[in-house]
């Protein structure tokens, strides 16, 4: 450990403490990366090579797994299903949550705090508790195995947290701006669309990314409400893919890798907002 008493030691000097720290960080990074390394290199190996050379780099890299995985077009169909469900459920959730959050943050009315607290309480309720009544309900209104059934469920599950996050953000819109809008004769609606929403863009982007990743990765609802292959999402499809090709490890890894790509793109594009979203509410 770097003894504080030795502050006079030159900055660049290698102390035992810094070696220890570097070693610890190296170790954790290796632990973090090894499974990902395995995922990528295995997808480039033939089944034969995988059996002979589990950990090494592929000696004869091949793309045969990729063409095999894509061959029947199901991965692409699943990806499309995930995209539709994610896009629409996040859109619905964002719109209705923003409306509600605006009322909670900027209006005075009876029952406001109680209602807001009811929404916040619902953040932590595990979806599995609702799943049986929901399933019966969806069967009765013929929405099982349809996009819209899943979209409504996902939107409903995301709304409590979304309202919480946006309410907190809308509260930070300076009163003077709202007041000046009112003095200028703007309606509430106009203040919302012309002032509050544009000022809240960062929070909205954060919310959209966090919610989109949630839906994209969700499995419980997807397995239950989108059982038919024509509407199956990518993650549910991956579990099916894994079951079907359980003897062909490189092919499974290829499917897993393909399923990861869209998310990594979203993450890299919105990294800033994503991390902010994670920290939102945590750092006061």
């Amino acid at each position: 450990m770097p003894a504080p008493g030795r502050r006079s030691v030159r900055r660049r000097a290698i102390s035992p403490g810094s070696v220890l720290k570097q070693t610890a960080l190296w170790l954790i990074c290796i632990v973090a990366l090894t499974p990902l390394y395995f995922l990528v290199v295995t997808s480039l190996k033939s089944k034969t090579e995988y059996l002979l050379n589990v950990w090494g780099l592929p000696l004869r890299p091949t793309l045969e797994n990729f063409s095999a995985a894509m061959a029947d077009g199901r991965l692409i169909a699943w990806t499309w299903n995930s995209t539709v469900v994610t896009f629409l459920s996040v859109a619905v959730c964002t719109i209705v949550s923003a409306l509600a959050a605006y009322a909670f943050a900027q209006m005075q009315f009876r029952g406001r705090d109680v209602l807001l607290n009811i929404f916040i309480a619902m953040i932590v309720i595990p979806p599995v508790i609702m799943i049986i009544p929901l399933f019966i309900l969806m069967v009765n209104i013929n929405l099982v195995n349809t996009y819209w059934g899943a979209i409504i469920i996902y939107a409903g599950l995301m709304i409590p947290f979304s309202i919480y996050l946006l309410t907190n953000f809308f509260r930070t819109v300076p009163r003077e701006i709202i007041d000046s809008g009112q003095i200028d004769g703007c309606s509430r609606w106009r203040i919302f669309t012309a002032l509050v929403l544009p000022l809240s863009m960062p929070a909205l982007v954060t919310l959209v990314i966090v919610n989109a990743l949630y839906v994209w990765n969700e499995l419980l609802i997807a397995l239950t409400f989108l059982q038919d292959d024509s509407v199956r999402t990518l993650m549910a499809g991956l579990t099916e893919f894994k079951g079907r090709f359980f003897l062909n490890q490189p092919l499974i890894m290829t499917g897993a890798l393909i399923a990861t790509v869209p998310m990594v793109v979203v993450y890299v594009a919105g990294q800033r907002y994503f991390v902010r979203g994670l920290v939102a509410g945590a750092v006061k």
């Binding site: 950990w55 209602l115 609702m130 994209w216 499974i252």
Partner: protein, 324 residues
Amino acid sequence: MDRRGHLTGKSSVPDATVIDGAARGLPISRRAQRRRAGDALMPYLYILPAALIVGLVIVYPLVDVFQASTQTLSAGASQYVGGANYDLVRTDPVFWQAVRDNATLLLAVPILVVLSLLFAVLLFERVRGWRIYRTLIFLPYIMAITVIGTVFGLLYEFDGPLNVALRGLHLNWLALDWLGNANLAIPSVMSVIIWRELGFGTILFLARLMSVREELFEAARLDGANWWQVQWHITVPQLRTVIEFFIIIEIINMMSGVFNYIYVMTSGGPGFASQVLEFYIWQNAFAFRQGGIAAAAAVLLLGVTVVFVFLQFRVRRGGTVADE
């Protein structure tokens, strides 16, 4: 949809007297609000769409699950059976296995807190290359659990890559059947959860650390505190609220957010050795067609959830109580 009215019906009571712009010291907006009585309804209209969807997806099922738990649900016909489902759950060893497994997973929480703190502190000290380390440590957290579970499911196979490596290192005694051994399945799943959540904890703590005033650390060092003392007397107290937040989030996670791991890695097995409540409920409902039993277990889980609600209000109070 009568039950939904509980939410929306209550909220549509217009009452101009409660409009209270003055509380915020805003006479202008108050007068403007009073001018039109129709305004009093407006807030409820803004909330209505969200309330309708949540009413349908969360509130109605929460009420209905109680009813479902007192019935046998099979092939469309349902029959009232009173507390019979609860008796079946109570005497089902698999249910208790699930409770035990959830409890075991809670052990991951202290491990996560300690490791996350450690790596957040190391990164915060700007060790050379800390930005790269930060990115790499966070990488597991952005992976989908289904993908992670698929990868680890393979790595942990008895003749899989992990054991190949261990045997290669002449550690044959350590090359265990990680997911196939009833005693090891849950610890193995736990290791994967820790692997992923560590990135979240580290980033969370690091973000908070960066907003701590540098002078605090400086002052402690000047007072002759050693590394451990600085962490114990400055870092931990400064991070108290965010540590609390993380602990509560992870407790909730271990109790109600691990279905994916189980489904992908063990399917609840071997036998019924790696159950968690979520999986138990889902399996009874959709694999065993025992909707009544599943509903009863869901009601019991809801009881635990009430504790979560209190816990999360504790950490979210900053957001709910007006934070001006």
